[in-house]
Structures are given as C-alpha cells and as structure tokens.
Symmetry: C2
Subunit: 193 residues, 2 copies
C-alpha cells in the first residue's frame, strides 16, 4: 500500500504494532505486477478492510473520509488465478530467528485456507524471517498437519526448513513463489515460463 | 458494507453519486454467506480500496483514520472459488429501463475479466435494472462480444434478455447466480446442491 507524504510518523507507529511486513509486502507487490505484466498469473492483494464512520463532502464529486477504523480481514490478503487454478495466500514477516508465532495468523484465516483447499484451490502462507533473510512457502496442507499434531504456539524454523520451500531472493520477480507452486501442483516441465 | 450509526446523511449523499447498488450488494452479501455456510462456494466481496493520508493513535492499540480517500478499484468487486474454478465478477445496479450505460464499468475492470477468462477462470457481470426489478448475469464472453461489435455506449436491455441469464429473485439465496454458472460451465446434473 502506498501512503501519500505526510504520514511518516504515523506509519512508523502503525508498523510497530501489527503491520510489520512492508518489505515482504512490497516484494510481493512487484512480483505480482511482474506476473501480470508477463501474463503468468493474475494475483492481487486485497485492499485493507476499513470501517468508515464519518465522511465529508467538500464537493459533489469528492468524498473525504474523516473517521475510520482498521478492521480484521475476513480472509487472506492475496488471491487470484494461475494456470486456471484458484490461488490464495497470506504473507507475514517475523523478526524471530527461531520460530513463527501463530498469533500472526488469525484462526479464521487458517480456516479460510482450509476451505480453499477443500474446494480445490491452492492455499499457502509465505513467511519471511527478516533477521535471517529467509522466505518460506508453506502449503496449507503442511500448516494443518502441524496444527493437528502440535500444541505449540509457534512453528519452529526447522519445521519450515523441513516441510516448507525456500523462496529464492531474486531481482525480478523478487519473490518467485509461483516457481514453487508450479513444481508442487503442476507438471514442472510443461508450460514453463 | 456496514456503516456505524451517525453517518446517515453522509451515506445518503455518497449513494447519490456513485455508490448505487446497495440493494444488490446486500443481496450478494447474504447470497455469498449462504454459499459459504452451505459449503457451496467460497466467494467474498473485496474491501473498498482507500488511500489513507492521516492516522491518529489515541492509544498504543488503536489507530483512527482521520483522512482518507476512496480509490478506484484495480479489479472487480467479487472473487473466489466454486467447484475448483476461479470465479470473478462485478455487480452493478442501474435505474434505466432500457439500457446499461457502460461508464458503470471501468475499462480496466473489463480488461481484468478478460484476463481471468484467458487464464481459465469464470468471469461475468451481474446487472440489476432496479426499476424493472430484473437481475441479469452476462458472461465476459458475451460482454466482449458486444464491445467488439458495437460502438454504443450502453448495452440495451434486449441484449441482456437475449444473451444474458435472468437471476431469479428468491428468498434464500437471494440472487442464486451460481445456479446459472453451474448450468453454463459444469455438468448441470452432477454435484447438484
């Protein structure tokens, strides 16, 4: 999301308690744009849901929101289509070097990904360990497997290393997660970009 | 979208120049909820995109948006998955009794639906003629066909009647558009609800 100038301080504070992940978010934004421009996939980030409580109308054609609140998203942040398949995922950054705390993902988002999987779509999470500069893709199948077999409140890094897939850091596309999706769910050889 | 109390006047003005279609929007909201609750499909409306220019932080855990603007959506309003297929559509209400003015749909939204179609998804528009109380589904294939063969700035009602599909007004689900999608793109007989 691009903020206009004049909100630097606000953004700083905003980031500090929940909206971490702007680095990964920006990388995914350019990656999805690359996919679209090269006609590989049509995947977008959904807008941040906001409850509006006050709107001003300085002119007939302009509406200015004067009071609003961030809402908890109903679903994941990203969805779209790749090779005819429905794609759905959530992306998170964590500073920890050892584990991904599960409070970063809402229960209903996991439930949503599970529903997508049951309905024949491809669901996953992308987690970046910022301190280690490692970005993983973990399928919803693997995530559910962990949740069903563990009472831990965080997923250890080792679980990602063993069951997830490293997304290599590249120039363009920055985070080529579809390379992994292609190998996992499609014939990795045919229709290759 | 649910607005809290205290914005009645604003909403009224807001509706008056662009956000028509709350009736259809509400009907689609309950319809999609019905689909989800009955595990028929996972389809959501995307949040309205907003550019935030001022945020206040009355407390560490609360952010209040103090200035924001409505942005033109990059894509369509609705997407999700049905029987493993990616679904994408835009919904509009018009007061006209004779035609659907094309300025109601942005060029990039039509381009988006065309892209979805090329990538193997199912794209369409839902148009309600409020005065006639008639709601149509028109596939992107038919919409493109019209645009490629006509210089008109609106789609006549007859085109919808001939090439579109009437969505029957029911109690629940209110606007059962998947009944039509099912007949058009799947074997209408198997896997029927």
């Amino acid at each position: 999301m691009k903020y206009p100038t004049g909100v630097k301080k606000s953004i700083h504070k905003y980031n500090s308690y929940g909206n971490r992940g702007m680095g990964l978010e920006n990388d995914l934004s350019t990656t999805n744009e690359f996919y679209r421009l090269n006609d590989i996939a049509i995947i977008y980030k959904k807008p941040t849901p906001i409850t509006i409580s006050k709107v001003d109308y300085p002119s007939r054609l302009e509406a200015v929101i004067k009071e609003g609140y961030f809402r908890t998203p109903s679903t994941t942040d990203y969805n779209g289509i790749y090779k005819g398949k429905y794609i759905d995922f959530e992306a998170k950054e964590v500073a920890s070097k050892t584990a991904f705390p599960l409070y970063n993902i809402h229960d209903h988002q996991i439930k949503h990904l599970e529903n997508i999987y049951r309905h024949g779509g491809i669901g996953f999470i992308i987690v970046r360990f910022t301190t280690l500069n490692k970005t993983f893709l973990l399928t919803i199948e693997c995530l559910l497997n962990f949740l069903n077999n563990s009472k831990r409140k965080s997923i250890p890094l080792e679980y990602f290393e063993k069951n997830g897939y490293i997304i290599k850091d590249r120039y363009n596309p920055r985070v080529d997660y579809l390379e992994i999706i292609n190998k996992l769910y499609f014939d990795g050889g045919e229709n290759e970009k």
